[in-house]
Amino acid sequence: MNRYELNKNLAQMLKGGVIMDVTTPEQAKIAEEAGACAVMALERIPADIRAAGGVSRMSDPKMIREIQNAVSIPVMAKVRIGHFVEAQILQAIEIDYIDESEVLSPADDKFHIDKTKFDVPFVCGAKDLGEALRRIAEGASMIRTKGEPGTGDIVQAVRHMRMINRQMRELQNMREDELFHAAKELEVPYDLVKFVHQNGKLPVVNFAAGGVATPADAALMMQLGAEGVFVGSGIFKSGNPARRAQAIVKAVTNYNDAKLIAELSEGLGEAMVGINEQEIELLMAERGK
């Protein structure tokens, strides 16, 4: 069995879990104790990246190492789209998962990283099925929606999840002789189109990401078909991070139990201040297609 299979397997073990953005070893510990199934180590959370502007890059490897030493759960970190040297660095420090992420400033406005050249796994964002399958063809072993980071607004993640699922249903319903044209339209390899046609799902795990701020947001994404949830700014930009993190973890496990989610939603303190998509100038989801 090859590394790609093992890397898809790790994503399978993350299913039903919550991956949390953290910027310090202390936050990583809070996240682990609150029930995060993995942490994303980054220097600034998306809301602050958005506020600060400028170029944002891969985090300091020293800081990532400190987080690796602080927790037993998998540690992920972000590289800029197309920046394969940042990815080589993260592989050298034995990161568990690389997020080739639109949250950072793109390093390449045309090409993504050839992820088949790496031993460590990659997760990539996708707004639609074409993007998802292109990233998988490039070697991504996990996909996530590209909900607008740092906004606390769930609308884009919902749009992406619905879009990917609708396009998969469309492929499933096609005659086999229509799949060649579908591959052309989606700008993706035929064998991946055929896989979706036969299985009705992506060949890798698909998480929700971007704009998740409440237990209800997390459960909404799970009911829409996400297999797990990334929470970025939503936790450490809120009034009571540990409490909110725990509530989101439980909401993801029991996403169909409205009574429980009602209890979990009580008295969580202030959610992060949201920004509507119409109010922002920079749509990060438009980076890397």
């Binding site: 073990m13 682990e32 029930g35 199934c37 990161i95 439980k250 993801v252």
Partner: protein, 186 residues
């Protein structure tokens, strides 16, 4: 029916393996799931042991499951499931069910780059498919624990009374023989 703990991780893979063997199963996500069920066995899947362990307590599932394990029904834990069933976790004071007299070492083969696939002997079975994902191994086992499999001198599968554990994930392969082994011992 076999109850598969479905709080986080690779539980659907176990349910699919059981289905292929024609064994009915159900998901355990909360206390209510245990009511009015004829529970013949339990599976603790892979995932993150810290997450599953925490949710077990907070969803008040720990005590009822602990009673079921102590009642002697067959229990099977893979990877994180092994950690949850171990009597001791190396370099960690926390323990969960303490159902099998072993000391388990978390992430014993390293981070994701240390994950691997191999084939090995398991009990009387030859060339069993074994996928290790950030896997633990068993550093020590009491004398009455039956060692079922070793890889590179490390114990990766063991059994004591009604409890079976594997550090690897048979549910991630097409090899159903370890699940069959568990079912036969029901």
């Amino acid at each position: 029916m076999i109850g598969v703990l479905a709080l986080q991780g690779g539980f659907i893979e176990h349910i699919n393996a059981l289905r292929k063997l024609g064994v009915p199963s159900f998901e355990i996500r909360q206390k209510a799931d245990l009511i009015n069920k004829d529970i013949k066995g339990l599976i603790f899947p892979g995932g993150e042991s810290t997450v599953i362990g925490k949710l077990l307590c907070e969803l008040e599932l720990f005590d009822p499951l602990d009673r079921l394990i102590k009642s002697g029904i067959p229990v099977f834990g893979t990877c994180a499931g092994l950690i949850l069933l171990a009597k001791k976790i190396v370099n960690d004071d926390s323990v969960y069910f303490e159902a099998i007299d072993i000391a388990a070492k978390r992430n014993a083969f390293g981070r994701q780059l240390g994950s691997f696939h191999t084939t090995g002997d398991f009990a009387d079975l030859k060339n069993v498919e074994m996928t290790f994902i950030r896997a633990p191994y068993i550093e020590q086992a009491a004398s009455d624990v039956k060692v079922l499999s070793k890889i590179n001198e490390h114990i990766v599968a063991a059994m004591q009374r009604n409890v079976l554990v594997t550090a690897f994930h048979p549910e991630l392969t097409n090899d159903l023989r370890v699940h069959e082994f568990f079912i036969k011992n029901l």
